[in-house]
């Protein structure tokens, strides 16, 4: 059974891209289009090994979703990596304080995503 990675981004194309990269590497990908949906997917897939999330999304942004996940004792240890256009170091510090493990500034490459996933979720 391969490890599940939850990918949260409001762009269909970005979700597809990350899913293609991770599926080719042997991971199972669960997609969500905003923070609310990401929390629901995590509820449905509590065995997820990691979350990769955009920040600027409708309904609930990635920082709020990160904060909510970390506040839930069941998922407090779940690795979360932010994948965003934001390069602001203050926002990065905020995410780090909230419990994020890493930060990718778009555009991303396949090897970059795989490096982050292998580092925090391990091999598939």
């Amino acid at each position: 059974m391969s490890k599940k990675i939850i990918v949260v981004d409001d762009s269909i194309v970005i979700r597809n891209e990350v899913a293609l990269i991770l599926s080719a590497a042997g991971y199972q990908v669960i997609e969500a289009s905003n923070g609310h949906e990401g929390l629901r997917r995590l509820g449905d897939h509590a065995d997820a090994a990691m979350v990769i999330s955009d920040i600027n999304m409708p309904e609930m942004n990635g920082i709020e979703m990160l904060t909510r996940i970390k506040a839930d004792a069941k998922h407090a240890a779940l690795p979360i990596v932010m994948l965003t256009t934001e390069g602001n170091t203050e926002l990065m510090k905020q995410a780090k304080r909230a419990g994020a493990k890493a930060w990718i500034v778009k555009p991303f490459s396949g090897p970059m995503v795989i490096e982050a996933v292998q580092r925090f979720a391990g091999h598939p």
Partner: protein
């Protein structure tokens, strides 16, 4: 002046975003106030466009990005380029509109990262994307906003950063880089 910085940053952001997806753009010129989108549509090309709003304490506005279905398809992320897209497919139109929205989002993200060095800070709204046979940008209203055209082969990209701020605002000449650049992975230890 901030207006001078913005013009350069906005142009470079569009060029860099498309370059990062393998499309080289050449700056063709400033089209305002010519309603060039209509001219392109009249040539039979279908246009895909997106708008992203941004707002800060003393800096707000809207960014627009438009191009052809075909160029947006060419500029897809690498893992998805093998699948052919058809302008006759409703699903592919959804895909391409979504992608132009993301390209616009990444363009504004680059502008945000660059102008943050000059003390200009703002938040970005999620993109809205749309398409059609005849689209025209309204004339921008910001103090230095221009609709700019770029060319890649037979395809055109139009962009406009219509920002509202104090037109007399000055910025330092050589600010230090304070943000993490695009395409970087930062591991938090």
């Amino acid at each position: 002046m901030l207006s001078d910085v913005l013009v350069d940053v906005a142009r470079l952001a569009v060029i860099d975003v498309f370059q990062s997806y393998g499309v080289r753009l050449a700056h063709r010129g400033d089209t305002s106030p010519t309603p060039e989108i209509v001219q392109a549509a009249a040539g039979g090309l279908a246009i895909v466009a997106a708008a992203v709003g941004f707002h800060g304490v003393d800096f707000r506005g809207t960014a627009l990005l438009a191009t052809t279905f075909e160029l947006a398809a060419i500029a897809r992320p690498p893992a998805q380029r093998q699948r052919a897209l058809s302008a006759n497919s409703a699903a592919d139109w959804i895909f391409v509109r979504d992608w132009v929205g993301e390209l616009c989002n990444q363009t504004v993200g680059r502008v945000k990262n660059k102008v943050g060095r000059y003390g200009v800070h703002f938040e970005v709204s999620p993109p809205a994307a749309f398409s059609g046979a005849a689209l025209t940008f309204a004339l921008p209203k910001g103090p230095a906003a221009q609709t700019v055209a770029f060319q890649s082969g037979a395809h055109t990209v139009w962009s406009c950063l219509d920002a509202f701020y104090d037109a007399a605002r000055r910025v330092s000449a050589a600010p230090e880089e304070t943000n993490v650049g695009e395409g970087k992975l930062v591991i938090f230890d």
